[in-house]
C-alpha cells in the first residue's frame, strides 16, 4: 500500500471541514427528513456523510452538472446606430477544485466511460476536462451490495479502484484512507493521522474479502453480436420493454449515461447557452423538426439504450462496456425493468424470453 491515513468516526466531519476550506467536498447525505434516499451534496458544517448504503442519485453531477452554462452572451447595441449589434461571448469559466467523498466503486467507474467520450474523442470537451482534472475521488470499498447490484457481471467489483484517487476502507472505530496516486497522496495529511500497521492489515483483510466477492450473476460483457442479431426481433423488445414508462430515471441515475441537450435561455439582451442532461428514453430526444422520429416509441428507445451500453460502446471502444453494474436503473425504476435480464436473454431462443 502507498500512503494511508486513519480517521475515527468522530473525526470524520472535522476532516471534511478542513478539506472543504480548500475545495468543494461532495458527500452523500439524506435527500430529506425521514427519506430513504441519499444524494450527494456539498459538505456543510456538521453534516456527516451517510455511508451505509448506496446513494439514489450520483456524484455524476460533480463532473457533469445537470445544468451547466456553456456560453454567456450579451447583445450590445451601438449607441449611434441601434441596428448595429455586436455580440459579446464568454465561454469556459474557472471551476473550483472538488472532492467526492464516499462514493462507491461503481459510481466512480462510470467516469471511465465519460473519459472515452469527452476526452478521447475527435473533440475534447473542455468543461468536463477541467472538472475531471480538478476533482478527486475518495471512494468507499463496497460492502453492501443488494439484489439489484451486478458490478462483477460487467468486469468491475466491490473493490474496484479504477478511477479513484483515494480509497476508503471501514475498519474498527473509523476508516482507513489509502492513496491510490499522487494526487490522493497529497491530501492524506489533511484527512487524518497515519494508520498503524494493525489498522493497515485489518483494512487489507477487508479489501481482500471485498475483492473476492462476486456481485451479480454471469458475465454481461460479451453481447455485442447477440444484440445485433436481436435488433430486429420486434416481439423480443415488445416483451422486454412493454412495462417501461419512458421516464428518465434510469438515465439520470446512471453513472455512464452522458447524453445531453443544448438550449439557449435569454432575457432581454443577455443570455446563456445551457447544457443539460437529456435522456434517450424521451421521445423529444430524437424528434426532428419535420416531425419525423427515428426512434418513435419506447421500444426503439430502450433498444438503443441496451445497444449503446452493451453493443455499440464496446464495439467502438475495445470491448469496454458502458455499464458499471451499480443497479440504480433497476432499483430506481418505478416498474422494475431489469436491464440485466434483458441483456442476458439476448442470447436465448425466441420464445424462451420472459420479462419480469
Amino acid at each position: 500500500m502507498s500512503g494511508t491515513a486513519y480517521i475515527t468516526h468522530n473525526e470524520l466531519t472535522s476532516a471534511l471541514e478542513r478539506l472543504s476550506k480548500e475545495m468543494d467536498v461532495w458527500i452523500p447525505v439524506e435527500t430529506g427528513d425521514k427519506k430513504w434516499g441519499i444524494q450527494f451534496s456539498k459538505y456543510q458544517p456538521g453534516k456527516a456523510p451517510l455511508l451505509e448504503r448506496q446513494s439514489t442519485t450520483l456524484p455524476k453531477k460533480v463532473l457533469f452538472p445537470q445544468v451547466e452554462t456553456l456560453l454567456r452572451f450579451c447583445y450590445q447595441k451601438d449607441v449611434e446606430d441601434r441596428s448595429r449589434v455586436t455580440i459579446d461571448l464568454k465561454d469556459l469559466e474557472d471551476m473550483a477544485p472538488a472532492m467526492v467523498f464516499g462514493a462507491r466503486p461503481c459510481d466512480v467507474r462510470g467516469f471511465l466511460t465519460f473519459d472515452q467520450v469527452f476526452l478521447n474523442g475527435l473533440h475534447k470537451d473542455p468543461y468536463y476536462a477541467q472538472r475531471r482534472e480538478k476533482t478527486l475521488f475518495a471512494t468507499l470499498v463496497c460492502e453492501t451490495p443488494d439484489s439489484a447490484c451486478f458490478c462483477s457481471s460487467v468486469g468491475s467489483g466491490p473493490a474496484d479502484q479504477a478511477g479513484s484517487d483515494l480509497w476508503i476502507i471501514p475498519i474498527e472505530g473509523g476508516y482507513l484512507i489509502e492513496s491510490l496516486n499522487e494526487r490522493g497522496e497529497k491530501l492524506l495529511p489533511k484527512m487524518g493521522k497515519e494508520a498503524t500497521q494493525d489498522q493497515i492489515e485489518s483494512a487489507q483483510r477487508f479489501q481482500e474479502k471485498a475483492a473476492n466477492e462476486r456481485v451479480g450473476e454471469g458475465d454481461l460483457t460479451r453481447y455485442v453480436r447477440a444484440f445485433e442479431e436481436r435488433f430486429s426481433d420486434k416481439a423480443y423488445w415488445r416483451d422486454m420493454v412493454s412495462k417501461c414508462i419512458s421516464c428518465g430515471i434510469c438515465t439520470y441515475v446512471c453513472p455512464t449515461c452522458y447524453c445531453f441537450t443544448i438550449t439557449d435561455e435569454m432575457k432581454e439582451l443577455e443570455g446563456e447557452r445551457l447544457r443539460s442532461w437529456d435522456s434517450c428514453m424521451f421521445h423529444q430526444y430524437t424528434q426532428e423538426a419535420s416531425g419525423h422520429n427515428p426512434r418513435p416509441t419506447k421500444f426503439e428507445r430502450y433498444r438503443n439504450r441496451v445497444g449503446h451500453k452493451f453493443s455499440y460502446f464496446p464495439d467502438k471502444y475495445n470491448g469496454m462496456i458502458s455499464c458499471c453494474g451499480c443497479g440504480r436503473c433497476i432499483r430506481s425504476c418505478p416498474v422494475s425493468v431489469d436491464i440485466r435480464q434483458i441483456v442476458r436473454q439476448l442470447k436465448e431462443e425466441a420464445g424462451d424470453c420472459v420479462s419480469t
Binding site: G32, W36, V67, A148, K243, G248, L274, P334, D338
Partner: protein
C-alpha cells in the same frame, strides 16, 4: 394473498379466449419488488401475483403502450385493477381515450399497498420474502427465517392511508369480497390538512425544500395515467416554450404546477406520481388539494362515472358564487 392470486389466474384462464393479453403483476427482480406483467399466453397466467407489493397502477398502459380504443375485430385487453386504479380506467373512458368494450377488468378489493422505501427504513436488511399480506392493522412479511410485522400506518403508501375507494368502481369480475373504506366520504384528506395547518410562509418553504430535490426525470408525469400528452408534453416543448431548461427553484415549482393544473378535476389520486418519484417528493399532495377544491366547488370527483365530463372541460351557466 395466495387465494386471490389463484382466483385471479383462474378468472383470466376462463376468459382468455377473448383476450389479446392480460396486464397484471408478477414478481420482479427480487421478492420485494412486484413488476407489471404483460401476459400473452394462457400458460403464463401462473406468473400473475397479487400482494401488497402490487402498487403499480396498470391503467396507464392502456393508452401509452397499447391502444385500448374500440377497434373492429380486436380482442379485449384484460387488466387487473385496485380501487384507485379503477378510477383511472373510468377517467380514461370518460375522456374517450379508451373504450370500455375493449377491456376485461378484474377488480381487486385492496387493503393497501406498501411503500417500499418506508419499509426499507424500518428494516433495511429485509430480503428473501416468502409471502406478504395484510392482517388487521399489520403488514405481515414472512421470510425464510421469521415473520416480521409492521403497523400499516408505518409502511403503506401515503395514498393508501387515506384511501376512500378500496373497492374497484368498475369491473367485470370482482376478485374477493368488497371492503370497508379506511376513510369515509367527507373526511378531509389528512395530509392536505396537515400542511394547511402551517402558515403560508411555511408552506412555501415546505414545497421549496421538497421540490429542490426534483431532478426533472419526468417520471411523475410519465407514470400518471391521466397525463395523456406524453410525447408532446409542454414541459419539453420549445414552441411554445412554457418552461426553460434552467434548474432554478422557479422552474421546478412551475414544472410541478403545470402538472398539477393539468390534472385539476381529472386526477384520480392513484398516487403513481409520488410512488415513482426517485427523490421521494410528495407530489401527489398538490393534486389532492386540487381535488379537494374541485370537490368543494363543483362537487365532482374524477373517475367515478364514465358518463360525466370533467368539470373544467364544461360549464354551467346557472352556477353562482364564482
Amino acid at each position: 394473498m395466495g387465494s386471490k392470486t389463484e382466483a385471479l389466474a383462474k378468472q383470466f384462464e376462463k376468459v382468455f379466449d377473448d383476450l389479446e393479453l392480460v396486464i397484471g403483476w408478477e414478481t420482479g427482480f427480487d421478492s420485494l419488488h412486484a413488476t407489471p406483467a404483460f401476459i400473452r399466453q394462457p400458460s403464463a397466467l401462473g406468473r400473475l401475483i397479487w400482494n401488497p407489493f402490487c402498487s403499480h397502477n396498470l391503467s396507464g398502459y392502456l393508452t401509452k403502450t397499447l391502444n385500448a380504443t374500440a377497434q373492429e375485430d380486436a380482442k379485449k385487453i384484460g387488466i387487473c385493477v385496485k380501487g384507485c386504479d379503477s378510477r383511472s380506467v373510468v377517467a380514461l373512458i370518460q375522456e374517450k381515450f379508451i373504450s370500455r368494450e375493449r377491456l376485461y377488468i378484474a377488480g381487486i378489493p385492496c387493503r393497501g399497498t406498501v411503500d417500499l422505501r418506508r419499509l426499507m427504513r424500518l428494516k433495511p436488511s429485509l430480503k428473501d420474502v416468502n409471502t406478504v399480506h395484510i392482517e388487521g392493522n399489520e403488514l405481515a412479511v414472512e421470510t425464510a427465517r421469521q415473520t416480521h410485522r409492521f403497523p400499516l400506518q408505518d409502511v403503506l403508501l401515503r395514498k393508501c392511508l387515506q384511501c376512500r375507494y378500496p373497492n374497484p368502481v368498475l369491473y367485470d369480475e370482482l376478485i374477493g369480497e368488497p371492503l370497508t373504506p379506511r376513510v369515509t366520504e367527507g373526511q378531509a384528506p389528512p395530509f392536505v390538512d396537515k400542511l394547511e395547518a402551517h402558515s403560508l410562509e411555511q408552506r412555501r418553504v415546505f414545497w421549496e425544500r421538497e421540490l429542490d430535490r426534483c431532478i426533472r426525470c419526468y417520471a411523475c408525469r410519465n407514470a400518471c395515467p391521466l397525463c395523456v400528452c406524453q410525447d408532446n408534453c409542454i414541459l419539453e416543448s420549445r414552441m411554445p416554450k412554457w418552461l426553460s431548461q434552467r434548474s432554478g427553484m422557479s422552474e421546478k415549482f412551475f414544472f410541478h404546477m403545470i402538472h398539477a393544473v393539468h390534472l385539476a378535476g381529472r386526477c384520480t389520486e392513484c398516487g403513481e406520481c409520488e410512488r415513482v418519484c426517485p427523490m421521494e417528493i410528495p407530489v401527489a399532495l398538490m393534486k389532492e388539494k386540487l381535488n379537494q377544491v374541485v370537490k368543494e366547488l363543483l362537487d365532482y370527483e374524477a373517475g367515478l362515472n364514465p358518463e360525466t365530463q370533467p368539470p373544467l372541460l364544461t360549464f354551467d351557466p346557472s352556477e353562482t358564487g364564482i
